[in-house]
């Protein structure tokens, strides 16, 4: 008996089976992916929506061991940026995060929020964050990162935030072992080091120029 491809039975012998599980097949077994919402600048009027009276207190006023991190943001002409906003996020002195996303469990350090939001309104054009010096955090590869603070900078003229990290100039030993710093040149590392002051540290951000801060793609 010859096979006739045009002799189609009224009822197929087996029900239709999608070719599921084939990567790139276009069937719904591929993970659902929605396009992310594009970012936009905070613009010049961010103070309306993003001012928090308690913004600078990553560690509450009076918390034992509290330090101030102060600094300014400079543009490519060397001028102070008078309308930037910085946000910081960091571990507590024991290296824990007050976040349920930490697979080791959320930490709870008295008076510590770990997050600050401040603006550089001119005058004086300087921000100040009251916090605790972070401890060392596992790097996920068997080592420890040096104490660091993740920083987002937002401003008119930046269509997306830019991200950098604060490290501490007086942590030379830990810094030498840090997996992120190890990937940078000495000049690049220098842009990330906060320098000791009377009541904490100073950390300036240079958006452009010879001393342009190292920014990270996250």
């Amino acid at each position: 008996m010859t096979y006739d491809p045009l002799d189609v039975p009224a009822d197929p012998a087996t029900p239709f089976q999608p070719r599921s599980g084939q990567r790139g097949s276009g069937f719904l077994t591929d993970p659902l992916r929605l396009g992310t919402t594009p970012s936009a600048t905070v613009g010049p009027y961010l103070a309306i929506g993003l001012t928090w009276p308690d913004g600078q207190w990553a560690a509450a006023e009076g918390t034992e061991g509290g330090i101030w991190i102060r600094g300014r943001v400079f543009d490519g002409a060397g001028d102070v940026v008078p309308d930037a906003m910085l946000e910081t996020w960091q571990a507590d002195p024991d290296g824990g995060f007050p976040s349920p996303e930490d697979p080791r469990g959320a930490s709870s350090h008295p008076g510590f929020r770990g997050y600050a939001r401040v603006q550089t309104i001119d005058p004086p054009g300087e921000f100040g964050i009251h916090t605790l010096k972070p401890g060392r955090v596992p790097d996920g590869e068997g080592g420890l990162q040096a104490p660091h603070i993740d920083v987002s900078v937002f401003a008119r003229g930046l269509l997306d935030r830019v991200v950098t990290r604060i490290y501490f100039a007086d942590e030379a030993e830990a810094n030498a072992e840090d997996v992120v710093l190890q990937g940078l040149s000495a000049d690049q590392r220098a842009t990330l080091l906060a320098t000791p002051t009377e009541d904490g540290y100073r950390f300036d951000v240079h958006l452009q120029g010879e001393r342009e801060t190292v920014f990270f793609a996250v």
Binding site: G35, T36, T41, Y45, I48, P100, G140
Partner: protein, 248 residues
């Protein structure tokens, strides 16, 4: 969402990055202010570790009742077209983001911001400050009542006008998910000449535009616009490495 500790190795989620062809660049020459501000060097890749995959818990205690209704301030009602703005906050896996803080700010109906820097000759409204806040519910939904913001001139180039927009600031669960953006209204005739809108790659611009929502429009009260916001999601199939770094 969270990984497990295995020895000294941590299994961490990895947040996916939108393709560069669909992301707003940090700088855009037609938007003049980016010239001296947008960094010029290529950013250094930062693999996601504990600091990047965690984030602050900021919730209900930052929001008061009046924050979800911008149309009533100082004992009176704001002038303008009353609108309900609502939608969902999702991650790119399509999962709702509950308990997320959403902060919004905007110009009044005449296109004037209540800010010392904004001094163009349009009237301020004593009953409108332009600030709103809301926390998403268990299904990632948000909504607030406001008035439709006006367009305004901004001096970027001759006869430059910003299309009507509402500024949005969002926290997800992780540092990587942080988003500040602007919501536009459908069919705005000012889109074509606006460099902030046009800085968004063409294929992603529709994601910044809300949809007129007749169903949620309230009879004799308010028009409605719907806008879903998508934050970065995680790689759903993270592979675990053993002590030799091999994929287990």
């Amino acid at each position: 969402m969270t990984g497990t500790t295995s020895g000294s190795r941590l299994q961490l989620p990895r947040y996916l990055r939108e393709d560069a062809s669909l992301r707003t660049p940090v700088g855009f020459p037609d938007y003049k202010s980016t010239g001296l501000r947008a960094p010029l060097r290529t950013p250094v890749d930062l693999p996601h570790r504990l600091t990047e995959i965690t984030g602050p818990v900021l919730g209900e205690d930052r929001v008061v009742q009046q924050d979800t209704d911008l149309t009533w301030r100082n004992g009176g009602e704001a002038v303008g077209q009353r609108i309900l703005v609502h939608g969902r906050v999702l991650d790119s896996d399509g999962r709702p983001v509950p308990d997320a803080l959403v902060e919004v700010w905007q110009a009044n109906a005449a296109g004037r911001y209540r800010h010392v820097v904004d001094n163009w000759p349009a009237p301020l409204d004593p009953h409108f400050d332009g600030l709103g806040r809301v926390v998403t519910d268990s299904l990632g939904r948000y909504e607030f009542l406001t008035i439709k913001p006006g367009a305004y001139p901004w001096g970027n180039h001759h006869n430059a006008w910003r299309p009507a927009h509402i500024h949005f600031s969002l926290f997800g669960r992780a540092f990587t998910q942080r988003l500040v953006t602007q919501m536009y209204f459908p069919d705005d005739p000012l889109f074509g000449q606006d460099p902030i809108y046009n800085a968004i790659p063409a294929a992603a611009r529709h994601r910044a535009i809300s949809r007129f929502d007749l169903e949620r429009t309230q009879d004799n009260w308010a028009l409605a616009f719907q806008w879903d916001i998508v934050l970065r999601g995680t790689d759903q199939t993270p592979f675990e490495t053993d002590d030799d770094g091999d994929v287990a």
